[in-house]
């Protein structure tokens, strides 16, 4: 019985898969934040290189991965697919559990799959600096690593609560030559406005995005990069699911259930879109695709499907997505990477159309699953990832009850080596189980967010 299913370097996919090509109707277009008319490429050119703008809007089924990018990806790709024999045994489940281990990238998560091409296209476009935001620090460190490879400067606005909870993520960014600033900061008007209103704010991804976008828009040599949500980011991550499909094929298997944790949606998109494509095109109609999100920020399960801003200040285009309202500041859970009010428009659309579904989890049950995983499979995973593990365990336990021998696949998106204080809190019984009081909100407001 194989534990690790490995591919050769040459089997790194040569194209990214674009699920937009297989949607029954086109996505609702992003709208300009001021005119509320669909944005054109020229609107985005102030902060993105043209190649990425093209990828954002293309409906081509496949987009070629530049060889220079594949060369860098060889550092850790293809990532291993593991069969979780020990976890299966512990759960006494007849299900087969596979996990795609993305923690092998230098920055320790799936985020490098998109930071490399994003930095590459910016370098090609002659940019000198990239500004970005980061939640838990996984994206910031992945972009710091990528910009270093292409000799670009990098400024990372890191959500304040995570900056202080995880100081070593900042240290990683510094090692790779990037500058890391706690957000909100006094460096941008967006940051100053938030601080003026609320000097004690823990910060939020939506605020940090406003800061990075403003930084990029006001500096000619600087572009902006986003680690999740946008179509081109999800596109770059599809390398994960494509590899999984190849790897499973070598053991003659195909998943019945595909799981990823969801913040902005990129790691979930990465593992899920190739399988969602199989479902949309009728090749595998029954695959169950599940996003795992925190109960404290339950965008897909409790949000409204509507146009909303991607950031707090309202600087980004309006995106058609599930949202809790762009002014919602989620509580400071340890899975900082899942604290986002909105979600990828493609993920949102697929959930809305019933191609994929979502569940929400309290952080203590997610940590319990993370610990179970560490004690069976050995790897100490990120708090974000533990949400996916929890759903995988739940699905496997359902199989124990029903006797079904389902194949369960989940994206093991990153390691938790910088999250040990969170594990300490779990052991001390100090984790707070935040949740979103959606019943009260719905009853009173009808629909949650309002675009102002």
């Amino acid at each position: 019985m194989k534990t690790k299913i490995l591919l050769d370097e040459e089997q790194i996919p040569k194209t990214w898969y674009n699920v937009q090509a297989d949607l029954p109707s086109p996505l609702d277009p992003p709208l300009h934040p001021v005119t509320q008319k669909p944005v054109g490429p020229e609107d985005l050119a102030a902060i993105f290189p043209m190649e990425l703008i093209k990828q954002e809007v293309t409906t081509d089924r496949y987009v070629a991965i530049p060889e220079e990018v594949r060369d860098v990806l060889r550092l850790w790709r293809p990532s291993p697919l593991y069969r979780a024999h020990r976890l299966e045994k512990f759960l006494k489940t007849p299900a087969k559990i596979y996990y795609k281990w993305e923690g092998v990238s230098p920055a320790g998560s799936h985020k490098a799959n998109t930071s490399i091409p994003q930095a590459y296209y910016n370098m090609k476009a002659g940019m000198e600096r990239i500004a970005t935001e980061t939640g838990a620090g996984q994206w910031g460190s992945a972009l710091a690593f990528a910009t270093m490879l292409y000799d670009l400067e990098c400024t990372v606005y890191m959500v304040g609560s995570s900056y202080y909870q995880k100081p070593y993520r900042k240290s990683m960014m510094n090692v790779w030559g990037a500058e890391c600033i706690p957000s909100p900061s006094t460096r941008t008007n967006a940051g100053k406005a938030v601080l003026e209103k609320d000097p004690d704010t823990p910060g939020a991804l939506g605020i940090a995005i406003s800061e990075a976008v403003e930084d990029a828009a006001t500096h000619a040599n600087t572009n902006y990069a986003l680690g999740s949500v946008l179509n081109h980011v999800c596109l770059h991550q599809t390398i994960i699911g494509q590899e999984c499909r190849e790897q499973l094929a070598t053991v003659d298997d195909y998943p019945d259930v595909v799981i990823g944790c969801v913040g902005g949606g990129s790691n979930f998109a990465g593992i899920a879109f190739p399988f969602a494509g199989d479902k949309l095109t009728g090749r595998h109609k029954d695959v169950d695709i599940i996003g795992a999100e925190p109960a404290s920020c339950p965008t897909l399960t409790k949000g409204a499907f509507m146009y909303d801003y991607g950031d707090v200040a309202g600087l980004t285009p309006l995106l058609m997505m599930y949202t809790l309202g762009h002014d919602f500041v989620p509580p400071s859970i340890h899975a900082g990477g899942l604290r986002y009010h909105g979600d990828s428009p493609i993920v949102s659309r697929l959930v809305h159309d019933g191609v994929m579904r979502a569940v929400s989890l309290h952080q203590s049950e997610a940590f319990e699953a993370g610990q179970t995983f560490a004690r069976t499979e050995g790897i100490i995973i990120a708090p974000e990832t533990s949400h996916a593990v929890k759903v995988a365990i739940d699905e496997a336990l359902k199989c124990r009850k029903s006797g079904e021998e389902k194949t369960i696949l989940f994206n093991c998106s990153g390691h938790g080596n910088f999250d040990m204080s969170a594990y300490d809190a779990y052991h001390a019984g100090n984790l707070v189980d935040y949740e979103y009081p959606d019943e009260l909100i719905r009853e009173a407001i009808g629909r949650i967010p309002k675009i102002q």
């Binding site: 004690d200 809190a425 189980d433 909100i441």
Partner: protein, 375 residues
């Protein structure tokens, strides 16, 4: 130099060991049953680590109410504000607290139980912070450190900038001895907050300051108030933040009712609340956990009776509390007087803790023997 008041209730806790459920007015009976004083021992645990502290001046009472122990511990930096001899009583505590407050104490450390806290609060109200070394039979008030050593640490770390509200509970001792726990909210004191202990997990609060957290909770409740619906608002300062936002003066220690952002009835008793709930069938009850244990029903809010809760519906209770308060409460307690109703609350409750933020908290239920066959 910190000026720390010290009052030891020499007979505190004596009743407990001999089954008296309280010592007030029962010292002789407690002694007859063989009880020995334990307050000095409890206070010693708190004060001994402070022997080397140079920055503290104690203001205390003579004899067993403070000075004896300080002398025994060779703590010399103290003055006596209240000379006392003979058998102490609640009146001594109240009078001593008054004089210590007049002498300019920053904080009054006391050793006793709920009765002592009540006597102290009678004198100083919410003006001078108080902190209890737990030594009584009953400690339902939220002014006690978790143990005497922690009380000592809190004195050492005391800062007037780090205080929280703390309910002082009044327990009817006579009824208590008949196994009938009747408590009411006696007042709201100020006591040192212990951020060091609740932040070991590096928990980041949504609002660093508890006052701000109350404002955010009130902001959220304001957002969800619906027209024509009656809201019954329980006792305490967290619920008071809601009425303050609405421009209504709340009965801090009692239960009010509001509708359409106006006060409908103030300081209601159970009968009045039942009549209101009858008149407005779609009523909501907003309460906050009270006291050291965190009771959402049955302590300080007795007007919100089991009958009223049944009439309104369990699902229509909105529980609110600051993250700071919740961090000190591992579980919430419900004691409506109707065990079946208490059980119907289930194992967990949603507690609104910020703007559009809630926490899922465990509800304490008396342990029952559920050991399944073959387990």
């Amino acid at each position: 130099m910190k000026r720390i008041g010290l009052i030891i209730n020499p007979v505190a806790g004596m009743g407990g060991s001999v089954g008296l459920k309280g010592t007030d007015g029962n010292v002789e009976e407690a002694r007859r049953r063989g009880a020995v004083p334990r307050a000095q021992d409890r206070a010693r645990l708190a004060l001994a680590p402070l022997r080397q502290e140079k920055g503290i001046h104690f203001i205390t009472c003579s004899g067993p109410m403070g000075a004896d122990l300080l002398q025994e511990l060779k703590i010399q930096n103290f003055s006596i504000a209240y000379p006392f001899s003979g058998e102490s009583s609640g009146r001594d505590t109240t009078e001593a607290a008054r004089r210590i407050q007049e002498a300019g104490a920053d904080l009054i450390l006391f050793c006793g139980g709920d009765g002592t806290a009540r006597d102290l609060y009678t004198a100083v109200g919410g003006d001078t912070p108080i902190l209890g070394i737990p030594a009584g039979v009953k400690m339902y008030s939220a002014v006690f450190a978790v143990d005497p050593a922690v009380a000592g640490e809190l004195v050492r770390e005391f800062s007037p900038a780090r205080l929280r509200d703390a309910e002082v509970m009044d327990v009817d001792e006579e009824a208590y001895r008949q196994n009938d726990l009747k408590t009411r909210l006696f007042g709201i004191a100020r006591t040192p907050a212990a951020p060091g202990r609740v932040q070991v997990s590096k928990q980041v609060y949504e609002a660093a300051d508890e006052g701000r957290a109350k404002i955010e909770i009130a902001q959220f409740i304001d957002e969800i108030l619906l027209p024509d619906r009656l809201y019954i608002i329980g006792a305490g300062t967290t619920t008071a933040a809601i009425t303050r936002r609405l421009g209504i003066t709340k009965t801090l220690l009692g239960v009010d009712a509001i509708r359409n952002r106006r006060l409908v009835a103030a300081d209601c008793d159970e009968k009045k609340l039942l009549a209101l709930a009858e008149k407005y069938p779609d009523t909501r009850i907003i309460v906050s956990p009270i006291g050291a244990q965190g009771f959402i029903l049955g302590r300080g809010n007795q007007q919100i009776s089991a009958e009223l809760v049944r009439k309104v519906g369990i699902k229509k209770i909105i529980v609110i509390a600051t993250p700071h308060k919740l961090a000190e409460l591992p579980e919430l307690f419900i004691d409506s007087g109707d065990p079946l109703l208490d059980a119907a609350f289930g194992d967990t409750l949603q507690v609104i803790s910020g703007y559009r933020i809630a926490q899922r908290k465990k509800v304490h239920h008396e342990k029952k023997d559920y050991s399944p066959a073959g387990a």
